[in-house]
Amino acid sequence: MRTRTRVIAAAGAGAALLALSGCGKADMSKQASPYANAAGAKTVTLSVQSWVGAQADVAVAEYLLKHELGYRVDKVQIDEIPAWDALSQGRVDAIMEDWGHPDQEQRYIKDKKTIVPGGDVGVTGHIGWYVPTYFAKKHPDVTDWKNLNKYAKDFRTPESGGKGQLMDGSPSYVTNDKALVENLDLDYKVVFAGSEAAQITQIEQFAKQQKPFLTYWYKPQWLFKKVPMTEVKLPAYKEGCDADPAKIKCAYPHTPLQKYFNADFAKNGGDAAAFLKRFKWTEADQNEVSLMIADKKMSPEDAAERWLADNESKWKAWLPK
């Protein structure tokens, strides 16, 4: 008797759940954020990556979408690879700055066709190893990787044990550093700061004390304006030399950064999609906005507003006619 009541209750609950959700198929590829379109306005959802350059792209795009084209903009901060997944599911409409993910391109653009390329951002990215310029001036030969072992003791920290410390940042960023240290026989240990924020804080701290350090870093980046750094030459990059991650022995490539859109959004996104496709600026432009956000602690919106006021001719060309 009791079991039967329970079975009936369970079946009833299941039926209620189905009825509630409409009995049909649920489309996992069309799931916007619950906060989107809250005031009945058209919404564009942009993914923001954790580095400030990407925040600058998004800030300027957001401002124009809002004030020139009449969209509401939602931003979500996600790491790079999950962002591709979110893009394919329709949770975000666009990635404004991608540093090159061949596996994801293969899967989502070529195979599943849920994502389409959105063109160049206009900025070329480059990853490398850097020492502070104040140290490079005193020891000019440190800028060649062949002499790095000589300076290992200068770069030592409690974390790196007896070796020199090569500081890497967020686990989400593209890096071959562990393999490079091993394959180039360097007396170094890669220490992961774990987040870019931690890495920047530590670099600023070192710079304040004029201490030597060696770090994974990338251009374009606003921090160069505050802490001038000089790149260490690694063996030159050649096409395909980074094909096998375990045997890698060469520097990082120069990558023209790309935009990517959800396929559906690219087709039906109207003015917003047309505008984002035409959005293209230079390294200097991006750095100007980044520096205002990260160093002057302006809100991304104020920073975008100031840049837009000075560069009207540039952004007028991006707007759909």
């Binding site: 759940l17 509630l20 959700s21 409409g22 198929k25 649920a26 489309d27 996992m28 590829s29 799931q31 916007a32 954020s33 619950p34 906060y35 809250a38 923001v48 580095w51 400030v52 925040q55 931003k75 979500v76 901060q77 996600i78 790491d79 790079e80 690879i81 999950p82 997944d85 979110a86 599911q89 949770r91 975000v92 899967r107 599943k112 920290t157 409690p158 974390e159 044990g161 500081m167 967020s170 686990p171 989400s172 220490v191 992961f192 700061a193 774990g194 987040s195 870019e196 924020a197 931690a198 890495q199 920047i200 804080t201 530590q202 701290q205 304040k208 004390q209 956000i293 990260a294 602690k297």
Partner: protein
């Protein structure tokens, strides 16, 4: 330190002698087993670290599983007919609550918070609640606060429903209770970070995944306390009700549940607290709201902005904690309410006030929080942080700077502990774990602990796990020294306890992300800042449990000791501490679990080891690295929990 706590209590009583006797027996037995197995094992796989022959590589199957999910998510029936609906239902409900909150406007929401607090907990808390919401607006965080509140409402409701259902089953049926206990134990020692990845893989980035992860984290206390309340029902009352001829359902509804309402409310309180702490962690997977603001501020190294988003979280936590807590106390007090506003009259007045405020704001066209009422706190906070860093980092006369302390801590504490653990032969570590867990618990707890430790080896993350373990041990040691010292002081002075309470609240509820940057600024990148952040997080619980435990020692025992001429110090050492032993052990246990939870987040500031693996897995969508790291953390948590778990299972968790 676990061994220290295990040996201190056995001192003078007859029970102690017996216990010592049993302890010796257990250890002898264990030594005998070791004497037989170790030579064989050692001959076969002699090495310091876990032998390669005994590992399993999961990266291929896990990689395939992850690919399968991504490729089939849009088409497989499991997704389109079930998980997709769950996901849609979550999105719809969060959206519904959010729209209601927006429609009520800031005036309506603030008024509602005030009058609800007034009905449930009295005038003083009503003022606190209304003020707290006002501050959220003043900080310019109104909209994110509403987003978090909407997500929290749905997550807490789901947790309470799930928790109560599980708790009912466990409370009414002994077999279910026995089966469920280890499951709930495990769910509670899981650090939330460890299972974000699989949840994201199934639901994708965003609100549904965040709600789901929150429910997993927040439902166990509700289930546990519901079961506890039902099982603890007064036997006499139950018998009386049964003799009146009540059916099973009547007994449940008219006697058991009402008798258990105090536990139910406590469960609700715990669930809310855990859900709030998860709200921030879930920002890593795109939950939005306040957590996302903290996380985005972190990206541009803006402590002030992070704090501005962190304060509303603390305020929400404090208000919800106090209101539900006060409701629990009122239930217990059993005083008859004789005011003219009791019952439905009070509630309808409350509803009317709320409605009036909401409508007033709407007609005044002041639905959104006015931008001119926003106070910018980011700049002064950042200036303060910069000053601190400039003056404390290095070169402070006599004591040295914080960077020097961190360096010493890494070199003289963390390194030796880690190298020591990694240098021990693997089987000896298993033996140590077995001995500790058995001495303090039963053979079952010892077996769980050893199996958990062995699983770490099998997963091939032995060295990374021992690195994490060394950070946990160092963190727990520091936490206990500080926590016991502060706890003893607070137990002797009511005034100090009152002063400490808000400070502890803030430490306990402030999202850890907020202090990651200051911690790096003070201690540099590495394991030391990770340990420090963990200590900050775990300290409040240890202090609270210690204070409470010492307070509960019977005054008569202390009086009689004093009358025999014992000094204050002697009373503390020979009467109070031994009598408060269960509380101290619970404090140790909580310290361990909480420190472990943050050492994982320490991966964000250079803690490395397992925390880094989990973060890397999440960031790269790499299920193999992330999930194996996560499982290893869970195993470490289980092992540490069992090794520090007093024989009698604690009734409730958290302080």
């Amino acid at each position: 330190m676990a061994s220290a706590t295990a040996s201190t209590p056995v001192r003078d009583t007859g029970l102690g002698a017996l216990l010592r006797h049993r302890t010796v027996h257990k250890l002898l037995l264990l030594a005998l087993a070791a004497a037989i197995t170790v030579p064989i094992v050692n001959a076969k796989w002699a090495s310091g670290a876990w032998p390669d022959a005994l590992t399993v590589d999961l990266s291929e199957p896990l990689g395939k599983a992850s690919d399968w999910i991504i490729d089939n998510r849009d088409s497989h029936p499991l997704f389109v007919y079930f998980l997709g609906h769950v996901s849609n239902a979550v999105v719809l409900s969060v959206r519904g609550v959010y729209l209601v909150l927006l429609a009520a406007g800031w005036a309506g929401v603030t008024a509602a918070a005030g009058v609800i607090a007034w009905r449930v907990a009295g005038v003083r808390l009503a003022a606190v609640a209304a003020a707290a919401f006002g501050v959220c607006g003043l900080l310019g965080m109104w909209v994110p606060t509403m987003q978090t509140l909407a997500l929290m409402t749905v997550a807490v409701l789901a947790s309470v429903l799930l928790g109560t259902a599980l708790g009912l089953a466990a409370g009414l049926n002994d077999r279910v209770f026995r089966m469920m206990r280890p499951v709930l134990d495990t769910m509670q020692v899981l650090p939330a970070f460890a299972y974000l990845l699989p949840v994201v893989l199934v639901f994708g980035i965003g609100v549904p995944a965040a709600v789901f992860a929150t429910v997993v984290y927040a439902a166990p206390p509700m289930a546990r306390l519901t079961a506890l309340g039902l099982r603890g029902a007064d036997g006499g009352v139950m018998e009386a009700v049964a003799s009146l001829g009540a059916t099973g359902r009547q007994r449940l509804l008219s006697a058991r549940l009402p008798l258990a309402r105090k536990e139910l409310l406590l469960g609700l309180n715990q669930t809310i607290m855990m859900a709030l702490s998860m709200a921030v962690i879930a920002s890593v997977i795109g939950a939005g709201g306040l957590g996302d603001r903290v996380y985005q501020a972190l990206a541009s190294v803006d402590v002030g902005q992070a704090l501005a988003a962190g304060i509303p979280i603390v305020l929400l936590a404090v208000v919800l904690d106090r209101v539900t807590g006060a409701a629990g106390e009122r239930l217990g007090a059993q005083t008859e309410d004789t005011s003219p506003l009791r019952g439905w009259r009070g509630w309808s007045l409350a509803a009317a006030v709320t409605l009036a405020c909401a409508l007033a704001a709407r007609f005044a066209d002041r639905l959104e929080w006015p931008t001119s009422w926003v106070v910018q706190i980011a700049e002064p906070v950042n200036t303060a942080k910069d000053w601190m860093v400039d003056h404390l980092y290095t070169g402070v006369p006599v004591v040295g700077g914080t960077a020097d302390w961190a360096a010493h801590f890494t070199t003289y504490v963390l390194d030796p502990v880690r190298d020591g653990l990694q240098g021990l032969p693997w089987w000896s570590l298993l033996l140590i774990v077995a001995a500790l867990a058995w001495v303090i618990g039963t053979w079952q707890t010892a077996l769980t602990a050893v199996l958990a430790m062995a699983a770490i080896g099998v997963l091939d993350v032995w060295n990374a796990s021992l690195d994490t373990l060394s950070q946990v041990l160092a963190g727990v040691a520091v936490t206990l020294v500080l926590g016991f010292a502060i706890g003893v002081a607070a137990s002797r002075s009511r005034r100090l306890e009152r002063l400490l309470r808000p400070v502890l609240d803030v430490f306990q509820t402030m999202p850890q992300f907020v202090y990651l940057i200051p911690v790096v600024a003070l201690f540099g990148v590495g394991r030391a800042p990770a340990v420090f952040a963990a200590v900050v997080y775990a300290l409040p619980a240890v202090v609270r449990i210690t204070t409470q435990g010492l307070r509960q020692v019977s005054p008569a025992a202390m009086e009689s000791a004093k009358s025999l001429g014992a000094t204050n110090w002697q009373v503390l050492r020979q009467v109070q501490l031994p009598l408060a032993r269960p509380a101290l052990l619970l404090a140790l246990n909580q310290g361990v679990v909480l420190v472990l939870a943050v050492v994982v987040i320490g991966g964000l500031v250079g803690g490395g080891a397992l925390g880094y693996d989990v973060l890397a897995g999440l960031a790269r969508g790499d299920l193999a690295t992330g999930l194996v790291g996560g499982i290893a953390i869970v195993c470490l948590g289980l092992m540490l929990d069992r090794v520090t778990q007093p024989t009698e299972r604690r009734a409730k968790k958290g302080a």
